[in-house]
């Protein structure tokens, strides 16, 4: 295993991810003879992990089981020990693309922090690129070094313990890209320019406050940087189990069920469980407008002549059904 190369089997010394299911996982350092406790019981490294394939199901002592996953920068990001605030994969992906990183790129980064971004950068620039990362906090710099060694990527990264605002990146005319995640990035712009190749390169700075952004933009302009863009990216994760359940349910909608429970009923049920009401209605409407015979054969209303929406779509009450122009409903038994 290494963070820049897939391996098939789990080996002594690897960092593996124990996946317990539903967003719950943790990293484990595989060691001959060692044990790991989970809520499903004990995992014995020598017998349960070493030599097994990554992605295998491992049965624990209490009969429960977990999956063992190969580490990736993305899994590391959600499992690493926090020493600082970290960047998450949503931002990391945009940073990587906007800095135009690829195998062979030389990147400068400060601060190293917990190494969440560092791992992703190393992954992208390997095998011929290099990361120069600067961290002014001594323990953090040492911890990062140790992690890079454990993850088999130390040959791709140089960690320097100094203040980037005062002493720069320790390299000059070498970098294709510079990334800053420090409290006062505007003080490091000059050093960033010195680190970048003479023929140019790209720079990115990450700041939580708009005032920091303003000062950084001014500093960039002052040092002759062009094409300055400011972006924010937001991730929206859907509660997929809920949506899928709702979706599957809308699939199995039949007229009778519809009579028993108008959409408002389902809506209420789902909104009580934290799903957006609009979304529920939307799914129900969408499903009923698709040509699903199961939705229409029970009452003979087909979507083709459905200029006027049938009861399923509008959720009329059962009392109104006889006045509905489009459907000739069977009488209920």
């Amino acid at each position: 295993m290494s963070f820049v190369e897939y391996g098939d089997t789990i080996k002594d010394g690897d960092t593996a991810i124990v996946f317990l299911g539903h967003e719950s996982m943790f990293p484990v350092k595989v060691q001959q003879g060692s044990v790991t406790q989970t809520k499903y019981g004990v995992i014995r490294h020598s017998t349960d992990l070493i030599g097994k394939k990554y992605g295998s199901k491992v049965t624990c002592s209490k009969g429960g089981w977990v999956f063992i996953l190969h580490p990736t920068p993305e899994l590391w990001t959600v499992n690493l020990p926090h020493r600082t605030q970290i960047l998450y994969s949503t931002d990391i992906s945009v940073i990587t693309m906007m800095l135009e990183l690829k195998p062979g790129s030389i990147v400068c980064e400060s601060g190293t922090g917990s190494g969440s971004l560092s791992h992703a950068l190393i992954r992208t620039v390997a095998p011929t690129g290099h990361l120069y990362t600067v961290e002014f906090h001594q323990q953090r710099a040492e911890k990062a070094k140790e992690e890079f060694r454990e993850h088999g990527v130390e040959h791709l990264v140089t960690v320097t313990n100094q203040d980037v605002c005062k002493n720069g990146f320790g390299v000059s005319d070498i970098a294709d890209a510079v990334f800053l995640d420090i409290p006062s990035p505007w003080e490091a712009i000059g050093h960033a320019k010195a680190a970048l190749k003479a023929e140019g390169g790209r720079i990115c700075s990450f700041s939580p406050c708009i005032e920091q952004v303003q000062r950084t933009c001014l500093a960039m302009e002052e040092y002759g940087f062009t094409e300055i863009n400011t972006l924010e990216i937001l991730l929206r994760v859907y509660n997929i189990a809920m949506l899928a359940e709702m979706f599957a349910f809308a699939l199995s909608f039949s007229c009778d069920q519809q009579l028993l429970h108008p959409p408002s009923f389902h809506q209420e049920r789902y909104t009580n469980r934290g799903v957006d009401a609009e979304e529920v209605l939307c799914v129900i409407r969408k499903r009923s407008s698709l040509e699903d015979p199961r939705l229409y054969n029970t009452h003979g209303c087909s979507p083709k002549n459905n200029n006027e929406k049938c009861r399923i779509c509008t959720g009329m009450s059962p009392e109104n059904k006889r006045t509905h122009p489009q459907c000739s409903l069977r009488d209920e038994p």
């Binding site: 820049v4 996946f19 708009i210 400011t230 972006l231 979706f247």
Partner: protein
Amino acid sequence: MEAERRLSLRICEGDCAVLKRGDVFKAVPVLRKRKIIFEKQGFYLDNAIGHVYGTTFEVTSDGNLQPKRQVEETTTETKEAGTDNRNIVDDGKSQKLTHDDIKALKDKGIKGQEIVQQLIENSTTFRDKTEFAQDKYIKKKKKKYEAVITIVKPSTRILSTMYYAREPGKIIHLRYDTLAQMLTLGNVRAGNKMVVMETCAGLVLGAVMERMGGYGSIIQMYPGGGPVRAATSCFGFPKPFFNNLHEFPLSKVDSLLCGTLSMETLPSEPEDTALTEEEMNGLVDEKQTSVQGTEEESSAETAMEINQTEEQERMDVNAEDAEFKENKERENKENVREKQRKQWERRKKLTETAALLREKNADGLLVASKFHPTPLLLSLLEFVAPSRPFVVYCQYKEPLLECYTKLRERGGVVNLKLSETWLRSYQVLPDRSHPKLTMSGGGGYLLSGITVVLDKGKSDSGNLEALKMEEPSSKRCKVQDLCC
């Protein structure tokens, strides 16, 4: 190496470059004596050759480019400006220059900068405007009259931005931040063996190739007669990047999985005539004596020529019509041979790709197509090794929900996530900072997950187990009472 790097920074003939004006991009091939139309302007790229990428050019009146010199902003000594617009009346007469005057200035070939200066001098309200409004006015006029074009080197960042702005339909509205997510979630990197299925004109393929830097291999699954790589060609990748790029027709995936794939019929080849054993062997021999495709062709040709000269020597060549016939025959023969050789090549490549897929050890799967993702994923996931990421893009959420349900039924996947990203850009200027626009709902959705070892004898109880794993118990009760 260093020299090569420096050279690649200069604009060369035959390169694929990207023109940029403001926020507008256009990818063009760099060719001499060829007129380019960009943003309502026609010009030739001849003069740009040899300059460094990133150089900004001005379009001269005769349609040539000349590098723009950095000019010091000519600031008027005493900057007059108003404080507000209480006395500014829109009577439509503030500009003293008429439309014809401006046209005359342009026809004279006067520099855009000077036209802007003239417009400012002839604007009666300019001095009463606030400083910010003056800035805005100048910016607007500059954009219109100063024709400056920057030539940049293509990259995923530029091309995905360009495609999203210019031809979003061709890339099924895959916004660039969504593409960025795909590359990260899919852990795309050097050395991987990736399976890519896309109908985004080859943009996703190009992005993957850039991130892999020529290390590893890519198998592109394609619908129809062949893969579309219009966008891929805009990247201007070096030749070696294509050495490990394979393609495989989607129509053959099922037979490959069933093990009934035969090489008898080729896709999009109706006039399929099988080569005889002998000829095949001959071709193999030729192949072995040559190293590269081009060399091989020449060696095949020389081999044929030798054969033909021998034949000719044995033939009586005194009648012209005989010679004519001979030539005709030879041409036909050559054509047939050429066709068969190409076909054989194609078949060989298909066999190689099929073998790569049969190993079922791909390091990842990216899908971004106009087709329903469910059947694609259920088939293509078979080729992916356990503990590897996969990412599916879809313009709409609903097909991904169905896909999710089907994947859960199938098993062999964990950590499924359905996500969407919103992008917001900002104007950052002293005392004028604000969000510009929020992009949402138009960039598509992603379903991502990680493969695991699939239990072959998976029963329904196992399925339930899996459900239990992912959902808290309170949720399950509700599911049950909903179903009754």
